[in-house]
């Protein structure tokens, strides 16, 4: 049986399991039908031209983990940003781990999607936002059909959340092959501020496929900073679809740091429903071996006087492959739009590949839109310059690559997170940068 057939036939069992009377029963049923029609994307789909899911879909994934698994904090402490106080929502094999988490209902809701979907007090927010921002493509629909657990974050009007929120998804690999489908909803009300750090992490080498969907609603004057750390084991694959609906005068940034995994696909979509706002989409990708990272971004400028900034840097070693597909749509009404997009890549090996494809669809006539894409090797004259000052080749290369990705790191607003990411980059590049960052 193909994975698609298996998933479709598992649906009834799933619904029975979660509660058929659930108010999102209709949404789930509709979604499974969409998935049945659409199926998994193939390379024939324009948006999937450079990324094939064949190698990750061949496994016979278990859809429902058979057992509860636990992890000890000390074994996974390194995956947390633990040097600052944070809220934490932690999942192990898709199940909530209360002893590792620190949730709250005190002035804001940082809790579980399962609670939000079943308790009446969340009904209004669920009715207004759940599955309203996500598109109805095959993969997102699959996630919607099986949506049950994930992070639910609701920040009320004027609330400035003092500490960042960490969302961590661990997979233990105790099931030989596991399909995880976390579903997150983040609603930030008028004039509220929040910072969120999200990480998917497998702790063994067993194949795991995560098909994650996150919906973010940023209301008037909200400020949302979202950081994704993707540094998974070599047999873990991640399809991350994130949908952001922005209202007027809001500021939303999403940083995606992709350093690991077998196959990573990021679908990052911004919809600007209002005036005078900005959207920031930044990314650093550093991969090697046969790893594959695909960034598929969309910024839809719907109304006038808005900005978007995209800056993606990639460093590709060995036989790794990268894709950047950045689409910007500027509606006819969206005059005075400023949309910038930049994608710079360094290929360290003859066998590494990057496919970079900017797509601008501009229907307004008074706009500033730019895109730039570069693909190159490390600058030989810069290397000689550094070596002539006594910096060995390996360290010189590391420093140059660090400098290359530095622009993106600069915009990370949580110092401890920036330090952590710099450390991951230094480890990844195999160098001691030689100074405190």
């Amino acid at each position: 049986m193909s994975l698609k057939d298996k998933l479709v036939s598992s649906f009834i069992a799933f619904e029975n399991h979660v509660d058929i009377d659930s108010k999102i029963h209709d949404i789930r049923s509709e979604a499974i039908k969409t998935f049945e029609t659409e199926g998994f994307p193939t390379k024939k789909d324009e948006a999937w031209k450079y990324t094939s899911l064949n190698s990750v879909l061949k496994h016979d994934y278990s859809v429902f983990p058979k057992q509860e698994n636990a992890l000890e904090y000390n074994d996974i402490k390194k995956y947390f940003i633990h040097d600052i106080d944070t809220y934490k929502i932690v999942f192990i094999d898709g199940k909530y781990s209360s002893h590792l988490s620190e949730t709250t209902h005190d002035g804001l809701d940082v809790c579980l999607m399962s609670a939000a979907l079943s308790k009446p007090k969340y009904q209004l927010v669920i009715d207004n936002y759940f599955n309203k921002i996500a598109t109805k493509d095959g993969l997102s629909s699959l996630n919607t059909a099986f949506s049950k657990e994930g992070a639910y974050i609701h920040i009320p009007k004027n609330k400035v959340v003092a500490k960042p929120i960490q969302i961590l998804h661990f997979s233990t690999g105790n099931e030989s092959t596991l399909l995880l489908q976390p579903r997150n909803l983040i609603v930030v009300e008028e004039n509220a501020h929040v910072q969120i750090i999200e990480r998917h992490q497998s702790v063994t080498d067993n194949p795991v496929l995560t098909n994650s969907v996150t919906e973010i609603a940023a209301n008037k004057r909200a400020i949302v900073d979202y950081y994704k750390i993707q540094n998974d084991n070599k047999n873990a694959s991640l399809i991350d679809s994130t949908f952001v609906d922005q209202k007027r005068e809001s500021h939303v940034s999403v940083h995606t740091f992709s350093f690991g995994g077998k196959l990573t696909r990021n679908n990052l979509n911004f919809y600007q429903n209002g005036e005078h706002m900005d959207s920031t989409l930044n990314g650093v990708t550093i991969i090697g071996d046969k790893q594959h990272v695909d960034h598929n971004t969309l910024v839809h400028h719907i109304e006038p006087n808005c900005e978007s900034h995209q800056d993606y840097k990639g460093i590709f070693n060995d036989s790794s492959t990268g894709v950047f597909n950045g689409k910007v749509i500027v509606n006819k009404e969206a005059q005075k739009t400023n949309a910038f997009q930049s994608n710079n890549n360094i290929l360290l090996s003859d066998k590494s590949t990057i496919n970079s494809k900017p797509q601008l669809e501009i229907f307004a006539d008074d706009v500033k839109c730019s895109h730039g894409c570069t693909i190159g090797q490390l600058d030989e004259s810069a290397l000689f310059y550094m070596k002539s000052r006594g910096i060995p080749e390996k360290e010189a290369k590391g420093l140059l690559m660090y400098a290359f990705s530095n622009n993106v790191l600069k915009s990370v607003k949580i110092p401890e997170l920036k330090q952590r990411i710099t450390k991951i980059i230094a480890t990844k590049l195999g160098v001691n940068i030689g100074f405190d960052l």
């Binding site: 550094m386 000052r389 360290e395 420093l399």
Partner: protein, 253 residues
């Protein structure tokens, strides 16, 4: 300190240096002059260890050790410093962090611990004052957006930080106004001692009014065709290079 014997070097099979002989002793200042394209910058790059250049004959001895097989960084660790004619921009790395890395990597190569932060700051303060460099300048990305003069001053600042045994200044005077030239020359003169040596590569005699050479060599067509004292520089300034070219071309015909 430095002994160059019959050095031949080429890049992409094009022969550029055609038999250079030069000896530089500790405490000496040598000027290498010559028309454009005579091989001055190539000589500097070959001594510093740029890999694109292939040494096809002859050798370079530093303290009696052949350095041909040493990488550029290993030569730097042994005290060779090249002030670049065109310093490279490195966005994202500040001047301070670049110097910290360079100094600590050099110390590491010598089996020493990293320089304590306090000592490093003290050194940076002292040397930046010597070169009249503003503090704010040090936190800027290396050479990015620097004016020609700032780049050159920054090169000499790096030299002051690294305290090389043999400093090669490649056209350090180009792009400098008279004030910057004075500051740079003053910096070099303060760093001079009986234990180190300087090779000044220049097209013009101007810099040599400030950094007074013990010897002047004229490089033409990949060879040193004339050597003399500082008065040779004045002669070149007056008469240009044409008479040297004519003399040489006459010899060869």
């Amino acid at each position: 300190m430095l002994k160059i014997n019959n050095l031949h070097a080429s890049v992409e099979d094009k022969s550029i240096l055609k038999g250079i002989n030069l000896e530089v002793k500790a405490g000496e200042v040598h000027a290498i002059m010559g028309p454009n394209g005579s091989g001055k910058s190539t000589l500097a790059s070959v001594i510093a260890g740029k890999e694109e250049y292939e040494v096809t004959d002859g050798n370079i001895l530093l303290d009696n050790e052949d350095i041909e097989d040493l990488a550029a960084e290993e030569r730097a660790h042994k005290g060779v410093f090249l002030s670049f004619q065109y310093p490279v921009e490195i966005p994202g790395v500040s001047v301070t962090n670049f110097m910290k890395t360079a100094i600590n990597q050099t110390r590491k190569a010598k089996g020493l611990e990293d320089m304590p932060a306090k000592e490093m700051l003290q050194l940076i303060r002292e040397k930046s004052e010597l070169l009249e460099i503003d503090r704010k300048f040090l936190s800027r990305s290396l050479n990015e957006g620097f004016s020609g003069g700032e780049k050159k001053r920054n090169e000499i600042f790096q030299m002051a930080m690294l305290e090389p045994k043999l400093a090669i200044l490649d056209e350090t005077d180009s792009g400098l106004d008279i004030d910057a030239l004075r500051i740079v020359a003053n910096g070099v003169n303060k760093l001079k001692s009986k234990d180190n040596a300087v090779i000044v590569i220049t097209h013009y005699q101007r810099l040599l009014d400030y950094i007074v050479p013990d010897f002047v060599h004229v490089l033409y067509n990949g060879k040193i065709v004339k050597s003399g004292g500082k008065e040779l520089a004045h002669e070149l300034e007056e008469k240009g290079y044409d008479w040297i070219k004519e003399e040489e071309d006459a010899k060869n015909n």
